[in-house]
Amino acid sequence: MKRVYVKEEACMGCGLCRVYCLAEHSRTRDIIKAFKRESPRSLPRIRVERNGEVSFSLQCRHCDEPWCVYSCFTGAMYIDEVTGAVAVDAEKCIGCWTCIVACPYGALTRDRDRKVVAKCDLCPGNDVPACVANCPNEALVFAEDGKAGQLVRN
């Protein structure tokens, strides 16, 4: 399936991916309004990691063997049969956060206002996710690959 990959050597840690992710998942989809006018403010689904000279952004890896899905006892987390992406059904989610403890990447966020988990949805409707489209150094790529998170099966 198609995932977002980061070229760590090209990432500056500027955090614009996070800004545009938040805007994309806001009600107005307007970057200024999303930050200054909307309340509650929408949540970014991407993290920027920095440690010294190392920086990279990280969002749901859409694992082939997703621990979050296996750990979800409401059936809210599931693998989309068409795209292969790991998705969440907000109607079913009760905000128990078991998926957050299960995710090795810290890629899931609590939406405390709605009491549901928030995660990368690869920006459905866009050709390219907002983080990728707005990375100023082209450190993010949206590409096809079959490998991520091989955890249970050997």
């Binding site: 090209a10 920095r50 440690n51 296996y70 079913k92 128990c96 956060w97």
Partner: protein, 446 residues
């Protein structure tokens, strides 16, 4: 014995919860053809047991508790025999005898039978108004029984006790929790986290009594109160027994299948008996923290164990990497993530790093630079990364100081580890603008 004709199946799964469904899904990934039969003594499609508290609270109905879509069985070609009890297994003949008289002959059998509540012998324990809280029928029974302003005594301050307490409070009942040990949630939290949880309970109006058990349930046919060990009488309309769960193993006790506390399984979730597998709360599978087989009755381990069993039953080799106790709690507005050994068993070779501020509390238990346990209260977002270090047995020698830092993240792990997490950028991939992304050449300051 019944007169009905025996039906044959390739896969017989006893149990229709996390383990049974996990196995069925794995089997169907690799075997679309052979028959799967799931037998359950409950009359419902696969529903989520942890959600029975939401049912009792009036927040979810039965349809909203189903963790798979309504057409799950038909779409996957699975026969579900609901409201049927397996009465006896003839292992050598591979026959399951059902209470209905039906017989099922299996080629591969999975025991995903779950657990049964522990009910202590207690004077008056058979009165009307005494409940357990494990399956939907329990929540339905309590729901039909309670009225506004009912007074409840919950025996046991563990996970089930706290979850039924929250549901009862939402139904405007008054609740007293009676815990035998000196603190609530004592098997999964340390003292500090227990005291935070207990404070949240008290703030919500729950009375918590520790170091006590219920000696007697009083009343006529119906409960009117309890008497504690110390002689204190508490008036109440209902009693919920929530002191723990035991593996449901009656089908295999006395057979050749090896049972310790639960059904003993290897890393393929196979029992010692050919073609018989077990998983979930009924099974004793590998615990990577203790390095031995243990009961770890939690949903994720049941589902993943079931999945591993399913692959192996279908002839695809898979190995259970092991599980451990892991729980995410959110009762009374408090988020807690916990896993592994949260209290070191002795002083030697163990190290604890912890911090507490603004109501948040984090603690990591280390042994020989391996993470052996964790408790996160309030700020739980990074608990998954720590749990992953625990699960993958990663030595934290070079970044242990960073574990509880505000900016801790994957970037603090050794490069090869975070690179693996990120995945490899596929060769020849282009950026959003159609140009191959590349790193700039370093510019020297000279």
């Amino acid at each position: 014995m019944g007169k009905k004709k025996a039906i044959r199946t390739e896969y017989l799964l006893i149990g229709n919860s996390a383990g049974g469904i996990g196995a069925a899904e794995a089997i169907r990934e690799v075997d679309k053809r052979n028959s799967i039969k799931i037998v359950s003594d409950e009359p419902y499609q696969a529903y989520s047991r942890p959600l029975i508290s939401k049912y009792l609270a009036g927040e979810r109905n039965v349809d909203e508790m189903l963790f798979r879509p309504a057409d799950f069985y038909s779409r996957n070609g699975i026969d579900h025999l609901l409201d049927r009890k397996v009465e006896h297994l003839s292992l050598d003949r591979r026959i399951a005898q059902l209470a209905s008289g039906e017989q099922i002959i299996w080629k591969k059998l999975l025991l995903a039978t779950g657990g049964v509540p522990i009910v202590p012998k207690m004077k008056g324990g058979d009165k009307e108004g005494v409940f357990t809280f494990l399956a939907l029928k329990d929540a339905i029974a309590i729901n039909a029984f309670i009225e506004d302003d009912s007074q409840a005594v919950v025996i046991g301050g563990g996970l089930i006790g706290i979850s039924v307490t929250e549901a009862l409070m939402k139904r405007k009942a008054g609740v007293t929790v009676v815990e035998m040990k000196d603190r609530v949630l004592n098997t999964i939290l340390d003292e500090t986290a227990s005291s935070i949880a207990e404070e949240a309970l008290r703030q919500a109006g729950v009375r918590v009594v520790t170091n006590q058990t219920v000696a007697e349930v009083t009343g006529g046919d119906r409960v009117d109160g309890v008497v504690l060990d110390n002689g204190e009488r508490i008036r109440c309309d209902l009693v919920v027994i929530a002191i723990g769960v035991l593996p449901r193993i009656e089908l295999v006790s006395g057979t050749d299948i090896k049972v310790n506390r639960g059904i003993v399984v290897d890393r393929c979730m196979s029992t010692n008996y050919p073609d018989v597998y077990a998983c979930g709360d009924a099974a004793e599978a590998y615990d990577f923290i203790y390095g031995a087989n243990r009961l770890t009755p939690i949903w994720p381990n049941a589902y993943i164990g079931g999945r591993v069993a399913g692959y192996n039953m279908a002839g695809v080799r898979a190995e259970y990497r092991g599980g451990t106790a892991m729980n995410s709690l959110n009762y009374f507005g408090l988020d807690i993530a916990t896993a592994g050994m949260v209290v070191p068993p002795d002083d030697r070779h163990w190290e604890v790093v912890s911090q507490r501020n603004n109501g948040a509390y984090q603690k990591i238990v280390l042994n020989d630079d391996l993470v052996m346990g964790m408790v996160f209260v309030k700020d739980i977002e990074k608990s998954g990364m720590i749990f992953s270090l625990m699960k993958d047995r990663v030595k934290v020698t070079n970044f242990r100081q960073a574990l509880l830092a505000d900016d801790f993240g994957l970037a603090y792990l050794p490069r090869e580890l975070w690179q693996e997490c990120l995945g490899t950028v596929p060769a020849g991939s282009t950026s959003a603008f159609g140009m191959p992304a590349k790193a700039e050449e370093p510019i020297s300051s000279e």
